[in-house]
Symmetry: D2
Subunit: 369 residues, 4 copies
């Protein structure tokens, strides 16, 4: 059997996104074999979900899926606390793993996942799909080619408003057991971008804050919020650049904002995920009287945009990023050099987030080397 057999665990937000990607990747790219959608696992009505999403078989038991001989790669898109057990079992059964971010809720789990990946020799990657945006890849290429000179300063903000409603009741997301809050929800994304665009982080200083001290319980009583909807960090990158990272999941009006500003010795790049088909670039050359940030629209000149649409300025969508990620995985499996965040880098990202939270508690800089 020469085509890749896919097993998918979970059919929620990102599970469906994986399914769409596995369905579309061969048609979009035309240079990879169509994967077999072999087995789908979901807790509820797996057969119906399999039918919907184009999988040929279904199960309610993920342990069965990770052992199934018709499965070559396991897409894991379940709640975060399941990631470690599933990924490790899949790797131990000789499967490749494509796991949604964040890697795990506890750093120790992320470490175990990384170790399992090392031991398996299999592909183990995380679903940091924002880095797959052709516009983001253009930024990466421009930086690598020195189009803005040596990077001196990086600024990333990620803001949404799903925790902004002060009158919403106390929920799981307000409990410490769910994580730190904005730090692990958002900063992992921000770090994936910084890693991909500029490189690793070497030192951090963190600050976290609670916009609302307490929330209402069903009883009517108030319970103290344990997580931090706001997180901020000072950064130093390995290349010497300074950075600031901000995350706020209580930012009214922001829906999917990931605002990236990268300043270099010869120019600057500016991006906002809410307008994911554009990047602004300033370069300090040419006539000073006509310099300015120029808005570059995503186009076939920015691979692999052209695989989706042959005309410029016609916009890819969020789900298309997963298709690109899927193609990167298929390429890696046949030996191509592709852009992915594997469990090694994923672990470093998680470690950085934990250091930020630790720094918040201790009040000083933490060295990551």
């Amino acid at each position: 059997m020469d085509t890749l057999g896919v097993g998918l665990i979970g059919t929620g937000y990102m599970g469906k996104c994986h399914a769409l990607a596995w369905n579309a990747v061969a048609s979009v790219f035309g240079d990879v074999a169509r994967p077999r959608l072999a087995l789908l696992c979901d807790a509820k009505e797996p057969e119906a979900r399999a039918r919907e999403l184009g999988f040929v078989r279904a199960t309610q038991d993920w342990r069965e899926l990770v052992k199934d001989p018709r499965v070559d790669i396991v897409s894991i898109a379940t709640p975060n606390h399941f990631h470690a057990d599933m990924a490790i079992a899949a790797l131990q059964n000789g499967k490749h793993v494509w796991c949604e971010k964040p890697m795990a809720t506890a750093l120790a789990d992320a470490g175990r996942m990384r170790d399992a990946a090392r031991a398996s020799g299999k592909l183990a990657v995380l679903g940091y799909n924002y880095i797959q945006n052709p516009v983001m890849r253009l930024m990466r290429k421009l930086i690598a080619e020195d189009a803005i000179g040596a990077v001196t300063h990086v600024r990333v903000e990620m803001d949404e408003d799903f925790m902004a409603d002060a009158s919403a009741p106390f929920s799981l997301r307000n409990e410490r057991s769910s994580g730190y809050g904005a730090a692990d929800d958002f900063m992992v994304h921000e770090l994936s971008l910084i890693w991909s665009l500029v490189g690793p982080v070497s030192r951090v200083s963190g600050d976290m804050a609670k916009p609302y001290a307490d929330r209402t319980l069903p009883s009517g009583a108030r319970r103290a919020v344990e997580t931090f909807d706001i997180a901020n960090a000072f950064l130093r990158l390995k290349n010497g650049a300074s950075g600031v990272m901000i995350a706020n999941r209580a930012a009214w009006g922001r829906k999917g904002r990931i605002a990236v500003q990268i300043f270099g010795a010869q120019g600057s790049l500016v991006f906002d995920q809410e307008r994911m088909n554009e990047v602004e670039m300033f370069t300090s050359d040419g006539d000073p009287a006509t310099r300015g940030f120029r808005r570059i629209l995503a186009a076939p000149l920015h691979p692999p945009y052209g695989k989706f649409i042959p005309a410029p300025g016609h916009s890819l969508g969020f789900n298309d990023l997963k298709v690109i990620e899927c193609r990167e995985i298929l390429g890696r499996l046949r030996g191509e050099q592709t852009l992915l965040i594997d469990f090694e880098t994923g672990y470093e990202i998680d470690r950085t987030v934990h250091a930020i939270a630790e720094s918040h508690a201790s009040g000083g800089w933490i060295d990551l080397s």
Copy 2:
């Protein structure tokens, strides 16, 4: 056989877009049966293309495809001058037809297509996918619900730059036989939006222009350009509103701009296809000191966005619009009231464009009633 058998003719820009849509629609929506990708027709290497795009069989002969009993609906995505013959043959063979715009190159052909559709009793729709954008549907809904009052003025600009290079050689697009130019390339789209948002056009006055008088032939000689890369029109709508429509395919820097401005007695709506996940709305209520155009980001509250992504502000792409159009077709086939531009309205759109061109020649208003 309970699922719909699909035949696709053409695998270029829009053909691939159809294929992606047929592939994705069941997974995205979850409430329609997965269509069978029965037969693909392409002039070159149809088998390879069928494999890539997930079709089970292939042919080089479109006449075979439109007769194939396993085909229930024919997607037509070939060069425009083939549309009429293919659509009519398909309809006469009892197939539904989903044909890319523009309907035909000659108005008489469009008329024959409309007549064939009438005679067949089959579904016959055109691929005016811009109207399927959830943001566009929000605009339509807001206008219908009187959120901006009675529409008084409509302004639509469509600009790209694929004909902007004055040094590009003389090509087919510069020949009269290819059509008028910007009028049929772009104004059909603009009219589909106006039709969908506000309603039909009743009178037009047109103006067309050539930015470059001639272009170079391979011999080095110059040949006069016969088409008009720029087209403008004054409009009167059936509802009484005035309008202006502009099209320019030689507009340097514009890549996919369709700028819509709709003014009503109580507010305004502004949209730009280059930022297809946003609409700006102004309403003349509330405190005058804090009024302003508000930027609304596409979100699950704007159906069917949520079928693609459960989070707001995460952006659909151009190809997703075709998936929505596909779902509208499937819905219509099972009796739902859905939003589509059929051959009746498509013919009216074509007729309007021809009237604009005629008015350019004659210099006055033309009544369409």
Copy 3:
């Protein structure tokens, strides 16, 4: 007496703006003598207004002002129907004239003004201050230096919303005697920009529309609106470019929008008066993968911005444009080549507007040569 004596008639919106300009021009520019604010004329409380605005004397009689030997130049900022008599009297008395736009309400009056200017040999200019914007001057310079190649298409929209409220009572602005409506209110500005940036107009075709057919009288009855809050025009420029001009004074949410788009054979320029310190430029050179509209912020490199502020990106305001216009007048009076719209060009602008209105009635193109 070596400094210029200024007489100002009218202290409303633009009268005050003139006074501020006369007050500021010497301090801002540092290279012109401080004008003497000799005499102010206003119908009500002229002494109080003179004190406020820094004039040394006051009168209620404009005929006295235009004869006053201490007055060398007359600023006319009264209601439009007074312009002709005042300007002609001032010129006949040997004064220079700086008159607010529009030139006159009747074309014949504008013609008499032009003739009086010719006969007098004095400076007679109109207050088309938008052309004085350093950003607009940059656009003019870029076009003149061929930075975007030969201009092929010009598009100008001017929109405000002071007539947008359908429930506002019938007023003078709805009477034919006040003019055509948007055509003379707004298109004169638009034409001043086109004239300044690209050159004169040679042919026009016009369309005017009424968003609201009638309005309420104090009696409660409805009276038919006689003016057109919306005006549109197709243009041909002397240089061969095509153009579209749109004006809407019933455009909810627009406050001072003058959106200019100029397309050339090598690039494009885009401007919006609501963001008057920016211009966007696209040029078709350099790496195609990083082309885009670049946002140029007003700066000292764009004269005479630096006379106001030595730092870039700090924004001039609307009133500063009048100070520049004032400096252009002072420069012209001492023989400099400066940028002003005199009564000759002003008459041509008015003639163009009248042709647009005439074309609306007759339904075809009108040649202006």
Copy 4:
């Protein structure tokens, strides 16, 4: 003598700005007596400068100016290290003082200035003109009226690029004696906005960075840069909100950016000084499907905009802010409650900046109470 006698020291960037404001304030506002421009002091050619700027007399000796009986208020717009001596001398001579920011280069000097102001009983204010923007005042009013609920998070970035050129030679601005760098250049402005909009800061944690380690001396040798072109701070405000403040004077392409984001329990406000006539507001009320950031344009409804221009959306400029500040001073002198940053608050702002720099060195939070 019933009008205020003005003495101005310095005629550079801000000195000219003061002069323009003193010249214009009476004409613009119409409700204050025209100040007498009594005496100007400049090191070079003071008479010529006085003539240009409308002052009746001139001197080269600032000590003479601060004692002159015809001077009631002293505008200080000299290099920063002169501020303390001049302001203290003026106050000790019974003059009011309007001093440009930053208050002083050393905190001790700022302390002496504050003490002198206290002892004098005279008005002593700093030129933090950004807070005077009608749009900024609207934001202040909206926050005070709870339009966005309790403020939970404040984010301010200030970026320019005058230090961005890595090849520029070593200069005074790179020496420690000139200050910390971005912290005192920019953060004083940012703090003036935070103070004015939300209130005082209670705790800070700082980080400063050098984009370029060294620069070239005339000899060709490299000298280590001693100042920090980048400064970042975590903040806690007295009201409990968290904040982040960023300053970068080596940010290519930024010219006058002061980006303010204020998040509250019911909405958000966003402002950018490069588009100083706009503010964006999001409120979490109304139909969720049509919520969005709305762009509010400066208008007469936002006092004192209407004193400059009676029409909305027509833009004030940077210099107009100084005219408003001047009016606030004149109002305060006659007992009105006006918005100004006096030497008391100015000292607190300086103290905060010094704490940020100290925290950078020490690595932890500093309490300002």
